[in-house]
Symmetry: C2
Subunit: 248 residues, 2 copies
DNA sequence: GATTGGCTTTGACTTAGATCAAGTTGGGAC
DNA sequence: GTCCCAACTTGATCTAAGTCAAAGCCAATC
């Protein structure tokens, strides 16, 4: 089902749809060479845990194919997804040996991993990579803060629209797409996972998805295949200003 | 009201209660010397804006005294605080010229600022500082994600207890304090600011603070001066496991 | 082709927190 | 002192979303 990704030393980070944002071949060919020695791929099936909070973690990596999620749980079972990991997103924290969150494969996932120690050594003496990592982390921080607004202040309907916007936008980054045409994608999340991301119950998610469908904001084929006829209508429903800063 | 901070080149980041975590004198005396040339202080009165979202921002800095807040606003006026800036917290993003959030002085604030261009140059050729900045950013990301759980899944009472825990913990870092004694601090936020941080209304905040007082979890002198007789009781109310990971 | 079991939808009812509307408090200006 | 005003509290009501319960819908398996 998953194919091995094509990722050669000559690949250009601007053109390659599946970018290892932390290790860009265009800029750091030599360093990438060093990393090739400690690079390996891992597959996970949909629903499988990638790592549990508290586990020892001796790799960092990035998602190549599929979708994974970062979640936090309270003792009584309430859970909150705190990050959605789409292709090119980075997992793991240099300098930390223990996972802070549960990481779960939401769809089938292919991850590209690097052993942590050599990766940290690389950061140590390759300022350029450290710099890029800082930039990525700052982007993630912005995304997390954007999501705090969603969680704290938006209505259920706006939350759903916000989530669909994010997925549509990230999906559009991977595919070449005509301007202003309808956006089509498959939801990589169950209703329950959506609820965990949005701080809702799965019933409310289901009701609001149905409502958006009835109102013509989206249309559904099956339960997961979504068509958005007018993306700006969706952004409006999400309560965002049109400049679109959801994921920077 | 605010006094000029003592911040000499010989100051040790481990001992000094007001630390510029980004530029630690102990580790980077020479580099700090370079920064001294572009360093300046700015004061803000309680309630004043420090910078508006969208404004050009040609400095970075850190809070020395007081409390500031990062907030995001929707067009219809709903607002969500996305960060609480306590002494030693960093403001601004290297590589970004435009502010992404509104920054407001919640109490009287003294900030230590550096012009952005020289600061970025320093990062560029001082890997150690870049590394520290990455670590700080990762910590902030963890804090933001912890807060996503608060916003998405906790009840109003748990939210209040979580906020009080954070302030108590950060406050305890600034003062030497007996183990297990009562924790005493002044709330640096109005009820409205608390509501904006917690995704609640100010009325709900007021009610839940009163409830925690009635139940003996906290006691109040005036409206802002808080005594927590048993900090572990407060953490329990916050729904946290006892290991205390709210701010790493 | 029937059966199972995950998802998902939909309905009826409940509730935590929002909203609206008075009051109260307390510190600073005069 | 008293007046003022912003910050806060408290009460009454409303509502969006949660809870509980019962079907529905595939896709995989027997």
């Amino acid at each position: 089902m998953l194919q091995e990704p094509i990722l050669t030393g000559s690949q250009n980070c601007e053109e390659c749809p599946i970018r290892h944002r932390a290790v860009c071949a265009r800029c750091e060919t030599d360093e990438l060479q060093r990393l090739e020695e400690v690079k390996y791929y891992r597959r996970f099936e949909a629903g499988q845990p990638i790592i549990w909070c508290g586990d020892r973690m001796d790799f960092v990596g990035s998602v190549v194919l599929g979708v994974a999620s970062l979640t936090q749980a309270m003792e009584d079972g309430r859970t909150q997804m705190v990050g959605l990991l789409l292709p090119s997103d980075f997992v793991g924290r240099p300098g930390r040996a223990v996972a802070a969150y549960d990481v779960t494969a939401t769809t089938d996932v292919l991850m590209c991993c690097f052993r942590r120690a050599p990766f940290e050594a690389l950061i140590e003496d390759t300022p350029h990579i450290a710099h890029r990592l800082l930039e990525m982390t700052l982007d993630e921080l912005d995304a997390a803060r954007e999501w705090m607004l969603v969680l704290g202040r938006k209505t259920a309907r706006e939350k759903i629209a916000s989530l669909l916007s994010i997925i549509a936008r990230r999906d559009a980054m991977l595919h070449i797409r005509r301007e202003d045409g309808p956006v089509v994608f498959d939801l990589p999340l169950t209703r329950e996972a959506m609820a965990d991301y949005l701080g809702l119950t799965l019933e409310t998610v289901s009701r609001q998805v149905s409502a958006l469908r009835k109102d013509g904001v989206i249309s559904l084929e099956g339960k997961r295949h979504v068509t958005v006829p007018d993306i700006s209508r969706l952004l409006e429903e999400a309560g965002d200003d049109m400049d679109g800063g959801l994921i920077s």
